[in-house]
Symmetry: none
Subunit: 122 residues, 4 copies
DNA sequence: GTGGTCTAGACCACC
DNA sequence: GTGGTCTAGACCACC
């Protein structure tokens, strides 16, 4: 967690969770960490984790069963839709941002290619 | 300004300013809006603008002369360096983000190409 | 705090803090006064203290954790470097000032010796 | 002049003037720059220079003769007294400052000796 | 008019 | 309780 950032911690937790889901590190039907456990792991107040979990349930990502824990909803399609949405949003935001910087579309692909190579070797 | 966003208004002001600089809408040596003027334009308190301007000065982007106003530093090179930094950082952040989403590098260029086309026609 | 001085109060707060650090009255890792507490102690507005604390963080002297407080960076070396810098700067400034007054280097050591003695007895 | 400093410009002008006097660059009875002239030289508003000159007259450093200009008071003793005061104050302030930094008197002379040497060679 | 500092006090996020 | 942001508005130094 980034405690300096202005982004609320509970949003950062949700964001992390979404990334894990999209990457396939956690799958529909999986039981996820208890709130207490996660709070200890990421060194955050249990209240903050509670808020994140509550919001994830509202978003339809998880469901909590009394006395059993919190589970990812059993809906493969949901994850796939979700993945597409996040990827597309990321790309669109990026393009908008680069245009705001006055960066020409023509140079963009070249530059990305270059960075991808460096990232592999570096 | 986005008053709903978590992002502090003073940071949004700095961000706007950076974009204008990078796009060449304002140039080294230019006098920029007075604090009071900008405060009226974007409808925030002069103190908030003051804070943004102060941070820009610390960042080395502007110079402030008491009683005269705030100016972009007279240093073409600085602006160019700055432009490169911002573009590069944006691309790197984007790549990192896409990898966090588990998106394969191979598909990335294709996908961006597609989005760039749509953006043009849309 | 000196409310008559031209020196801004927030700078005086920073200066006091630096002196305490250099003198070893506060140490790396220590939690320092909360902003509200210090504001009450020195009878200034919490915003003024906030500004001082913020600048100290930018200077790399402190670290602030939301909801937990402000701490001196855990870096013994940094403090030592800082101490040396302050002492050296003070001496250099002094020498420059004395030369500006046309005071001959030769007399300087004598004069300081004299003053040091008086200070002890006085 | 230092336009960033919080020290009022008119005080900086007085300070400069005092240093010149103490160094002997200007002498009792000398005519000094006209206000307009100085304003142009140091690139400052004539009002600011006027204020500095007014204060210097109040301090008994100068006298203004209508239509003739401003002159340093013809009082050699005054300058000498003044010189002693400034030098002594500088030394005392310095010692106080170093003690505030917790710097031991014993090391002080050594350190100054060292800096004086460096200043000569550098 | 232009920037700089400060107060008083509200409201928020997180502990 | 602890820090962060913001407003409203005063007052100052300098142009």
């Amino acid at each position: 967690m980034d405690f300096v950032n202005h982004r609320p911690i509970y949003e950062q937790i949700i964001e992390d969770f979404k990334k894990k889901l999209v990457r396939g590190e956690i799958k529909p039907g999986d039981k996820i960490c208890s709130q207490r456990e996660l709070a200890q792991q990421v060194k955050v107040n249990p209240n903050t984790v509670q808020r994140a979990y509550r919001e994830m349930e509202i978003l339809g990502l998880t469901e909590t069963l009394r006395g059993q824990g919190t589970f990812i909803v059993k809906d493969e399609k949901m994850v796939e839709t979700f993945r597409k949405e996040m990827v597309e949003a990321a790309i669109k935001d990026f393009i908008v941002h680069m245009r705001e910087l006055g960066y020409p579309d023509e140079s963009l692909l070249e530059q990305i290619k270059k960075e991808l190579m460096e990232g592999k070797n570096g």
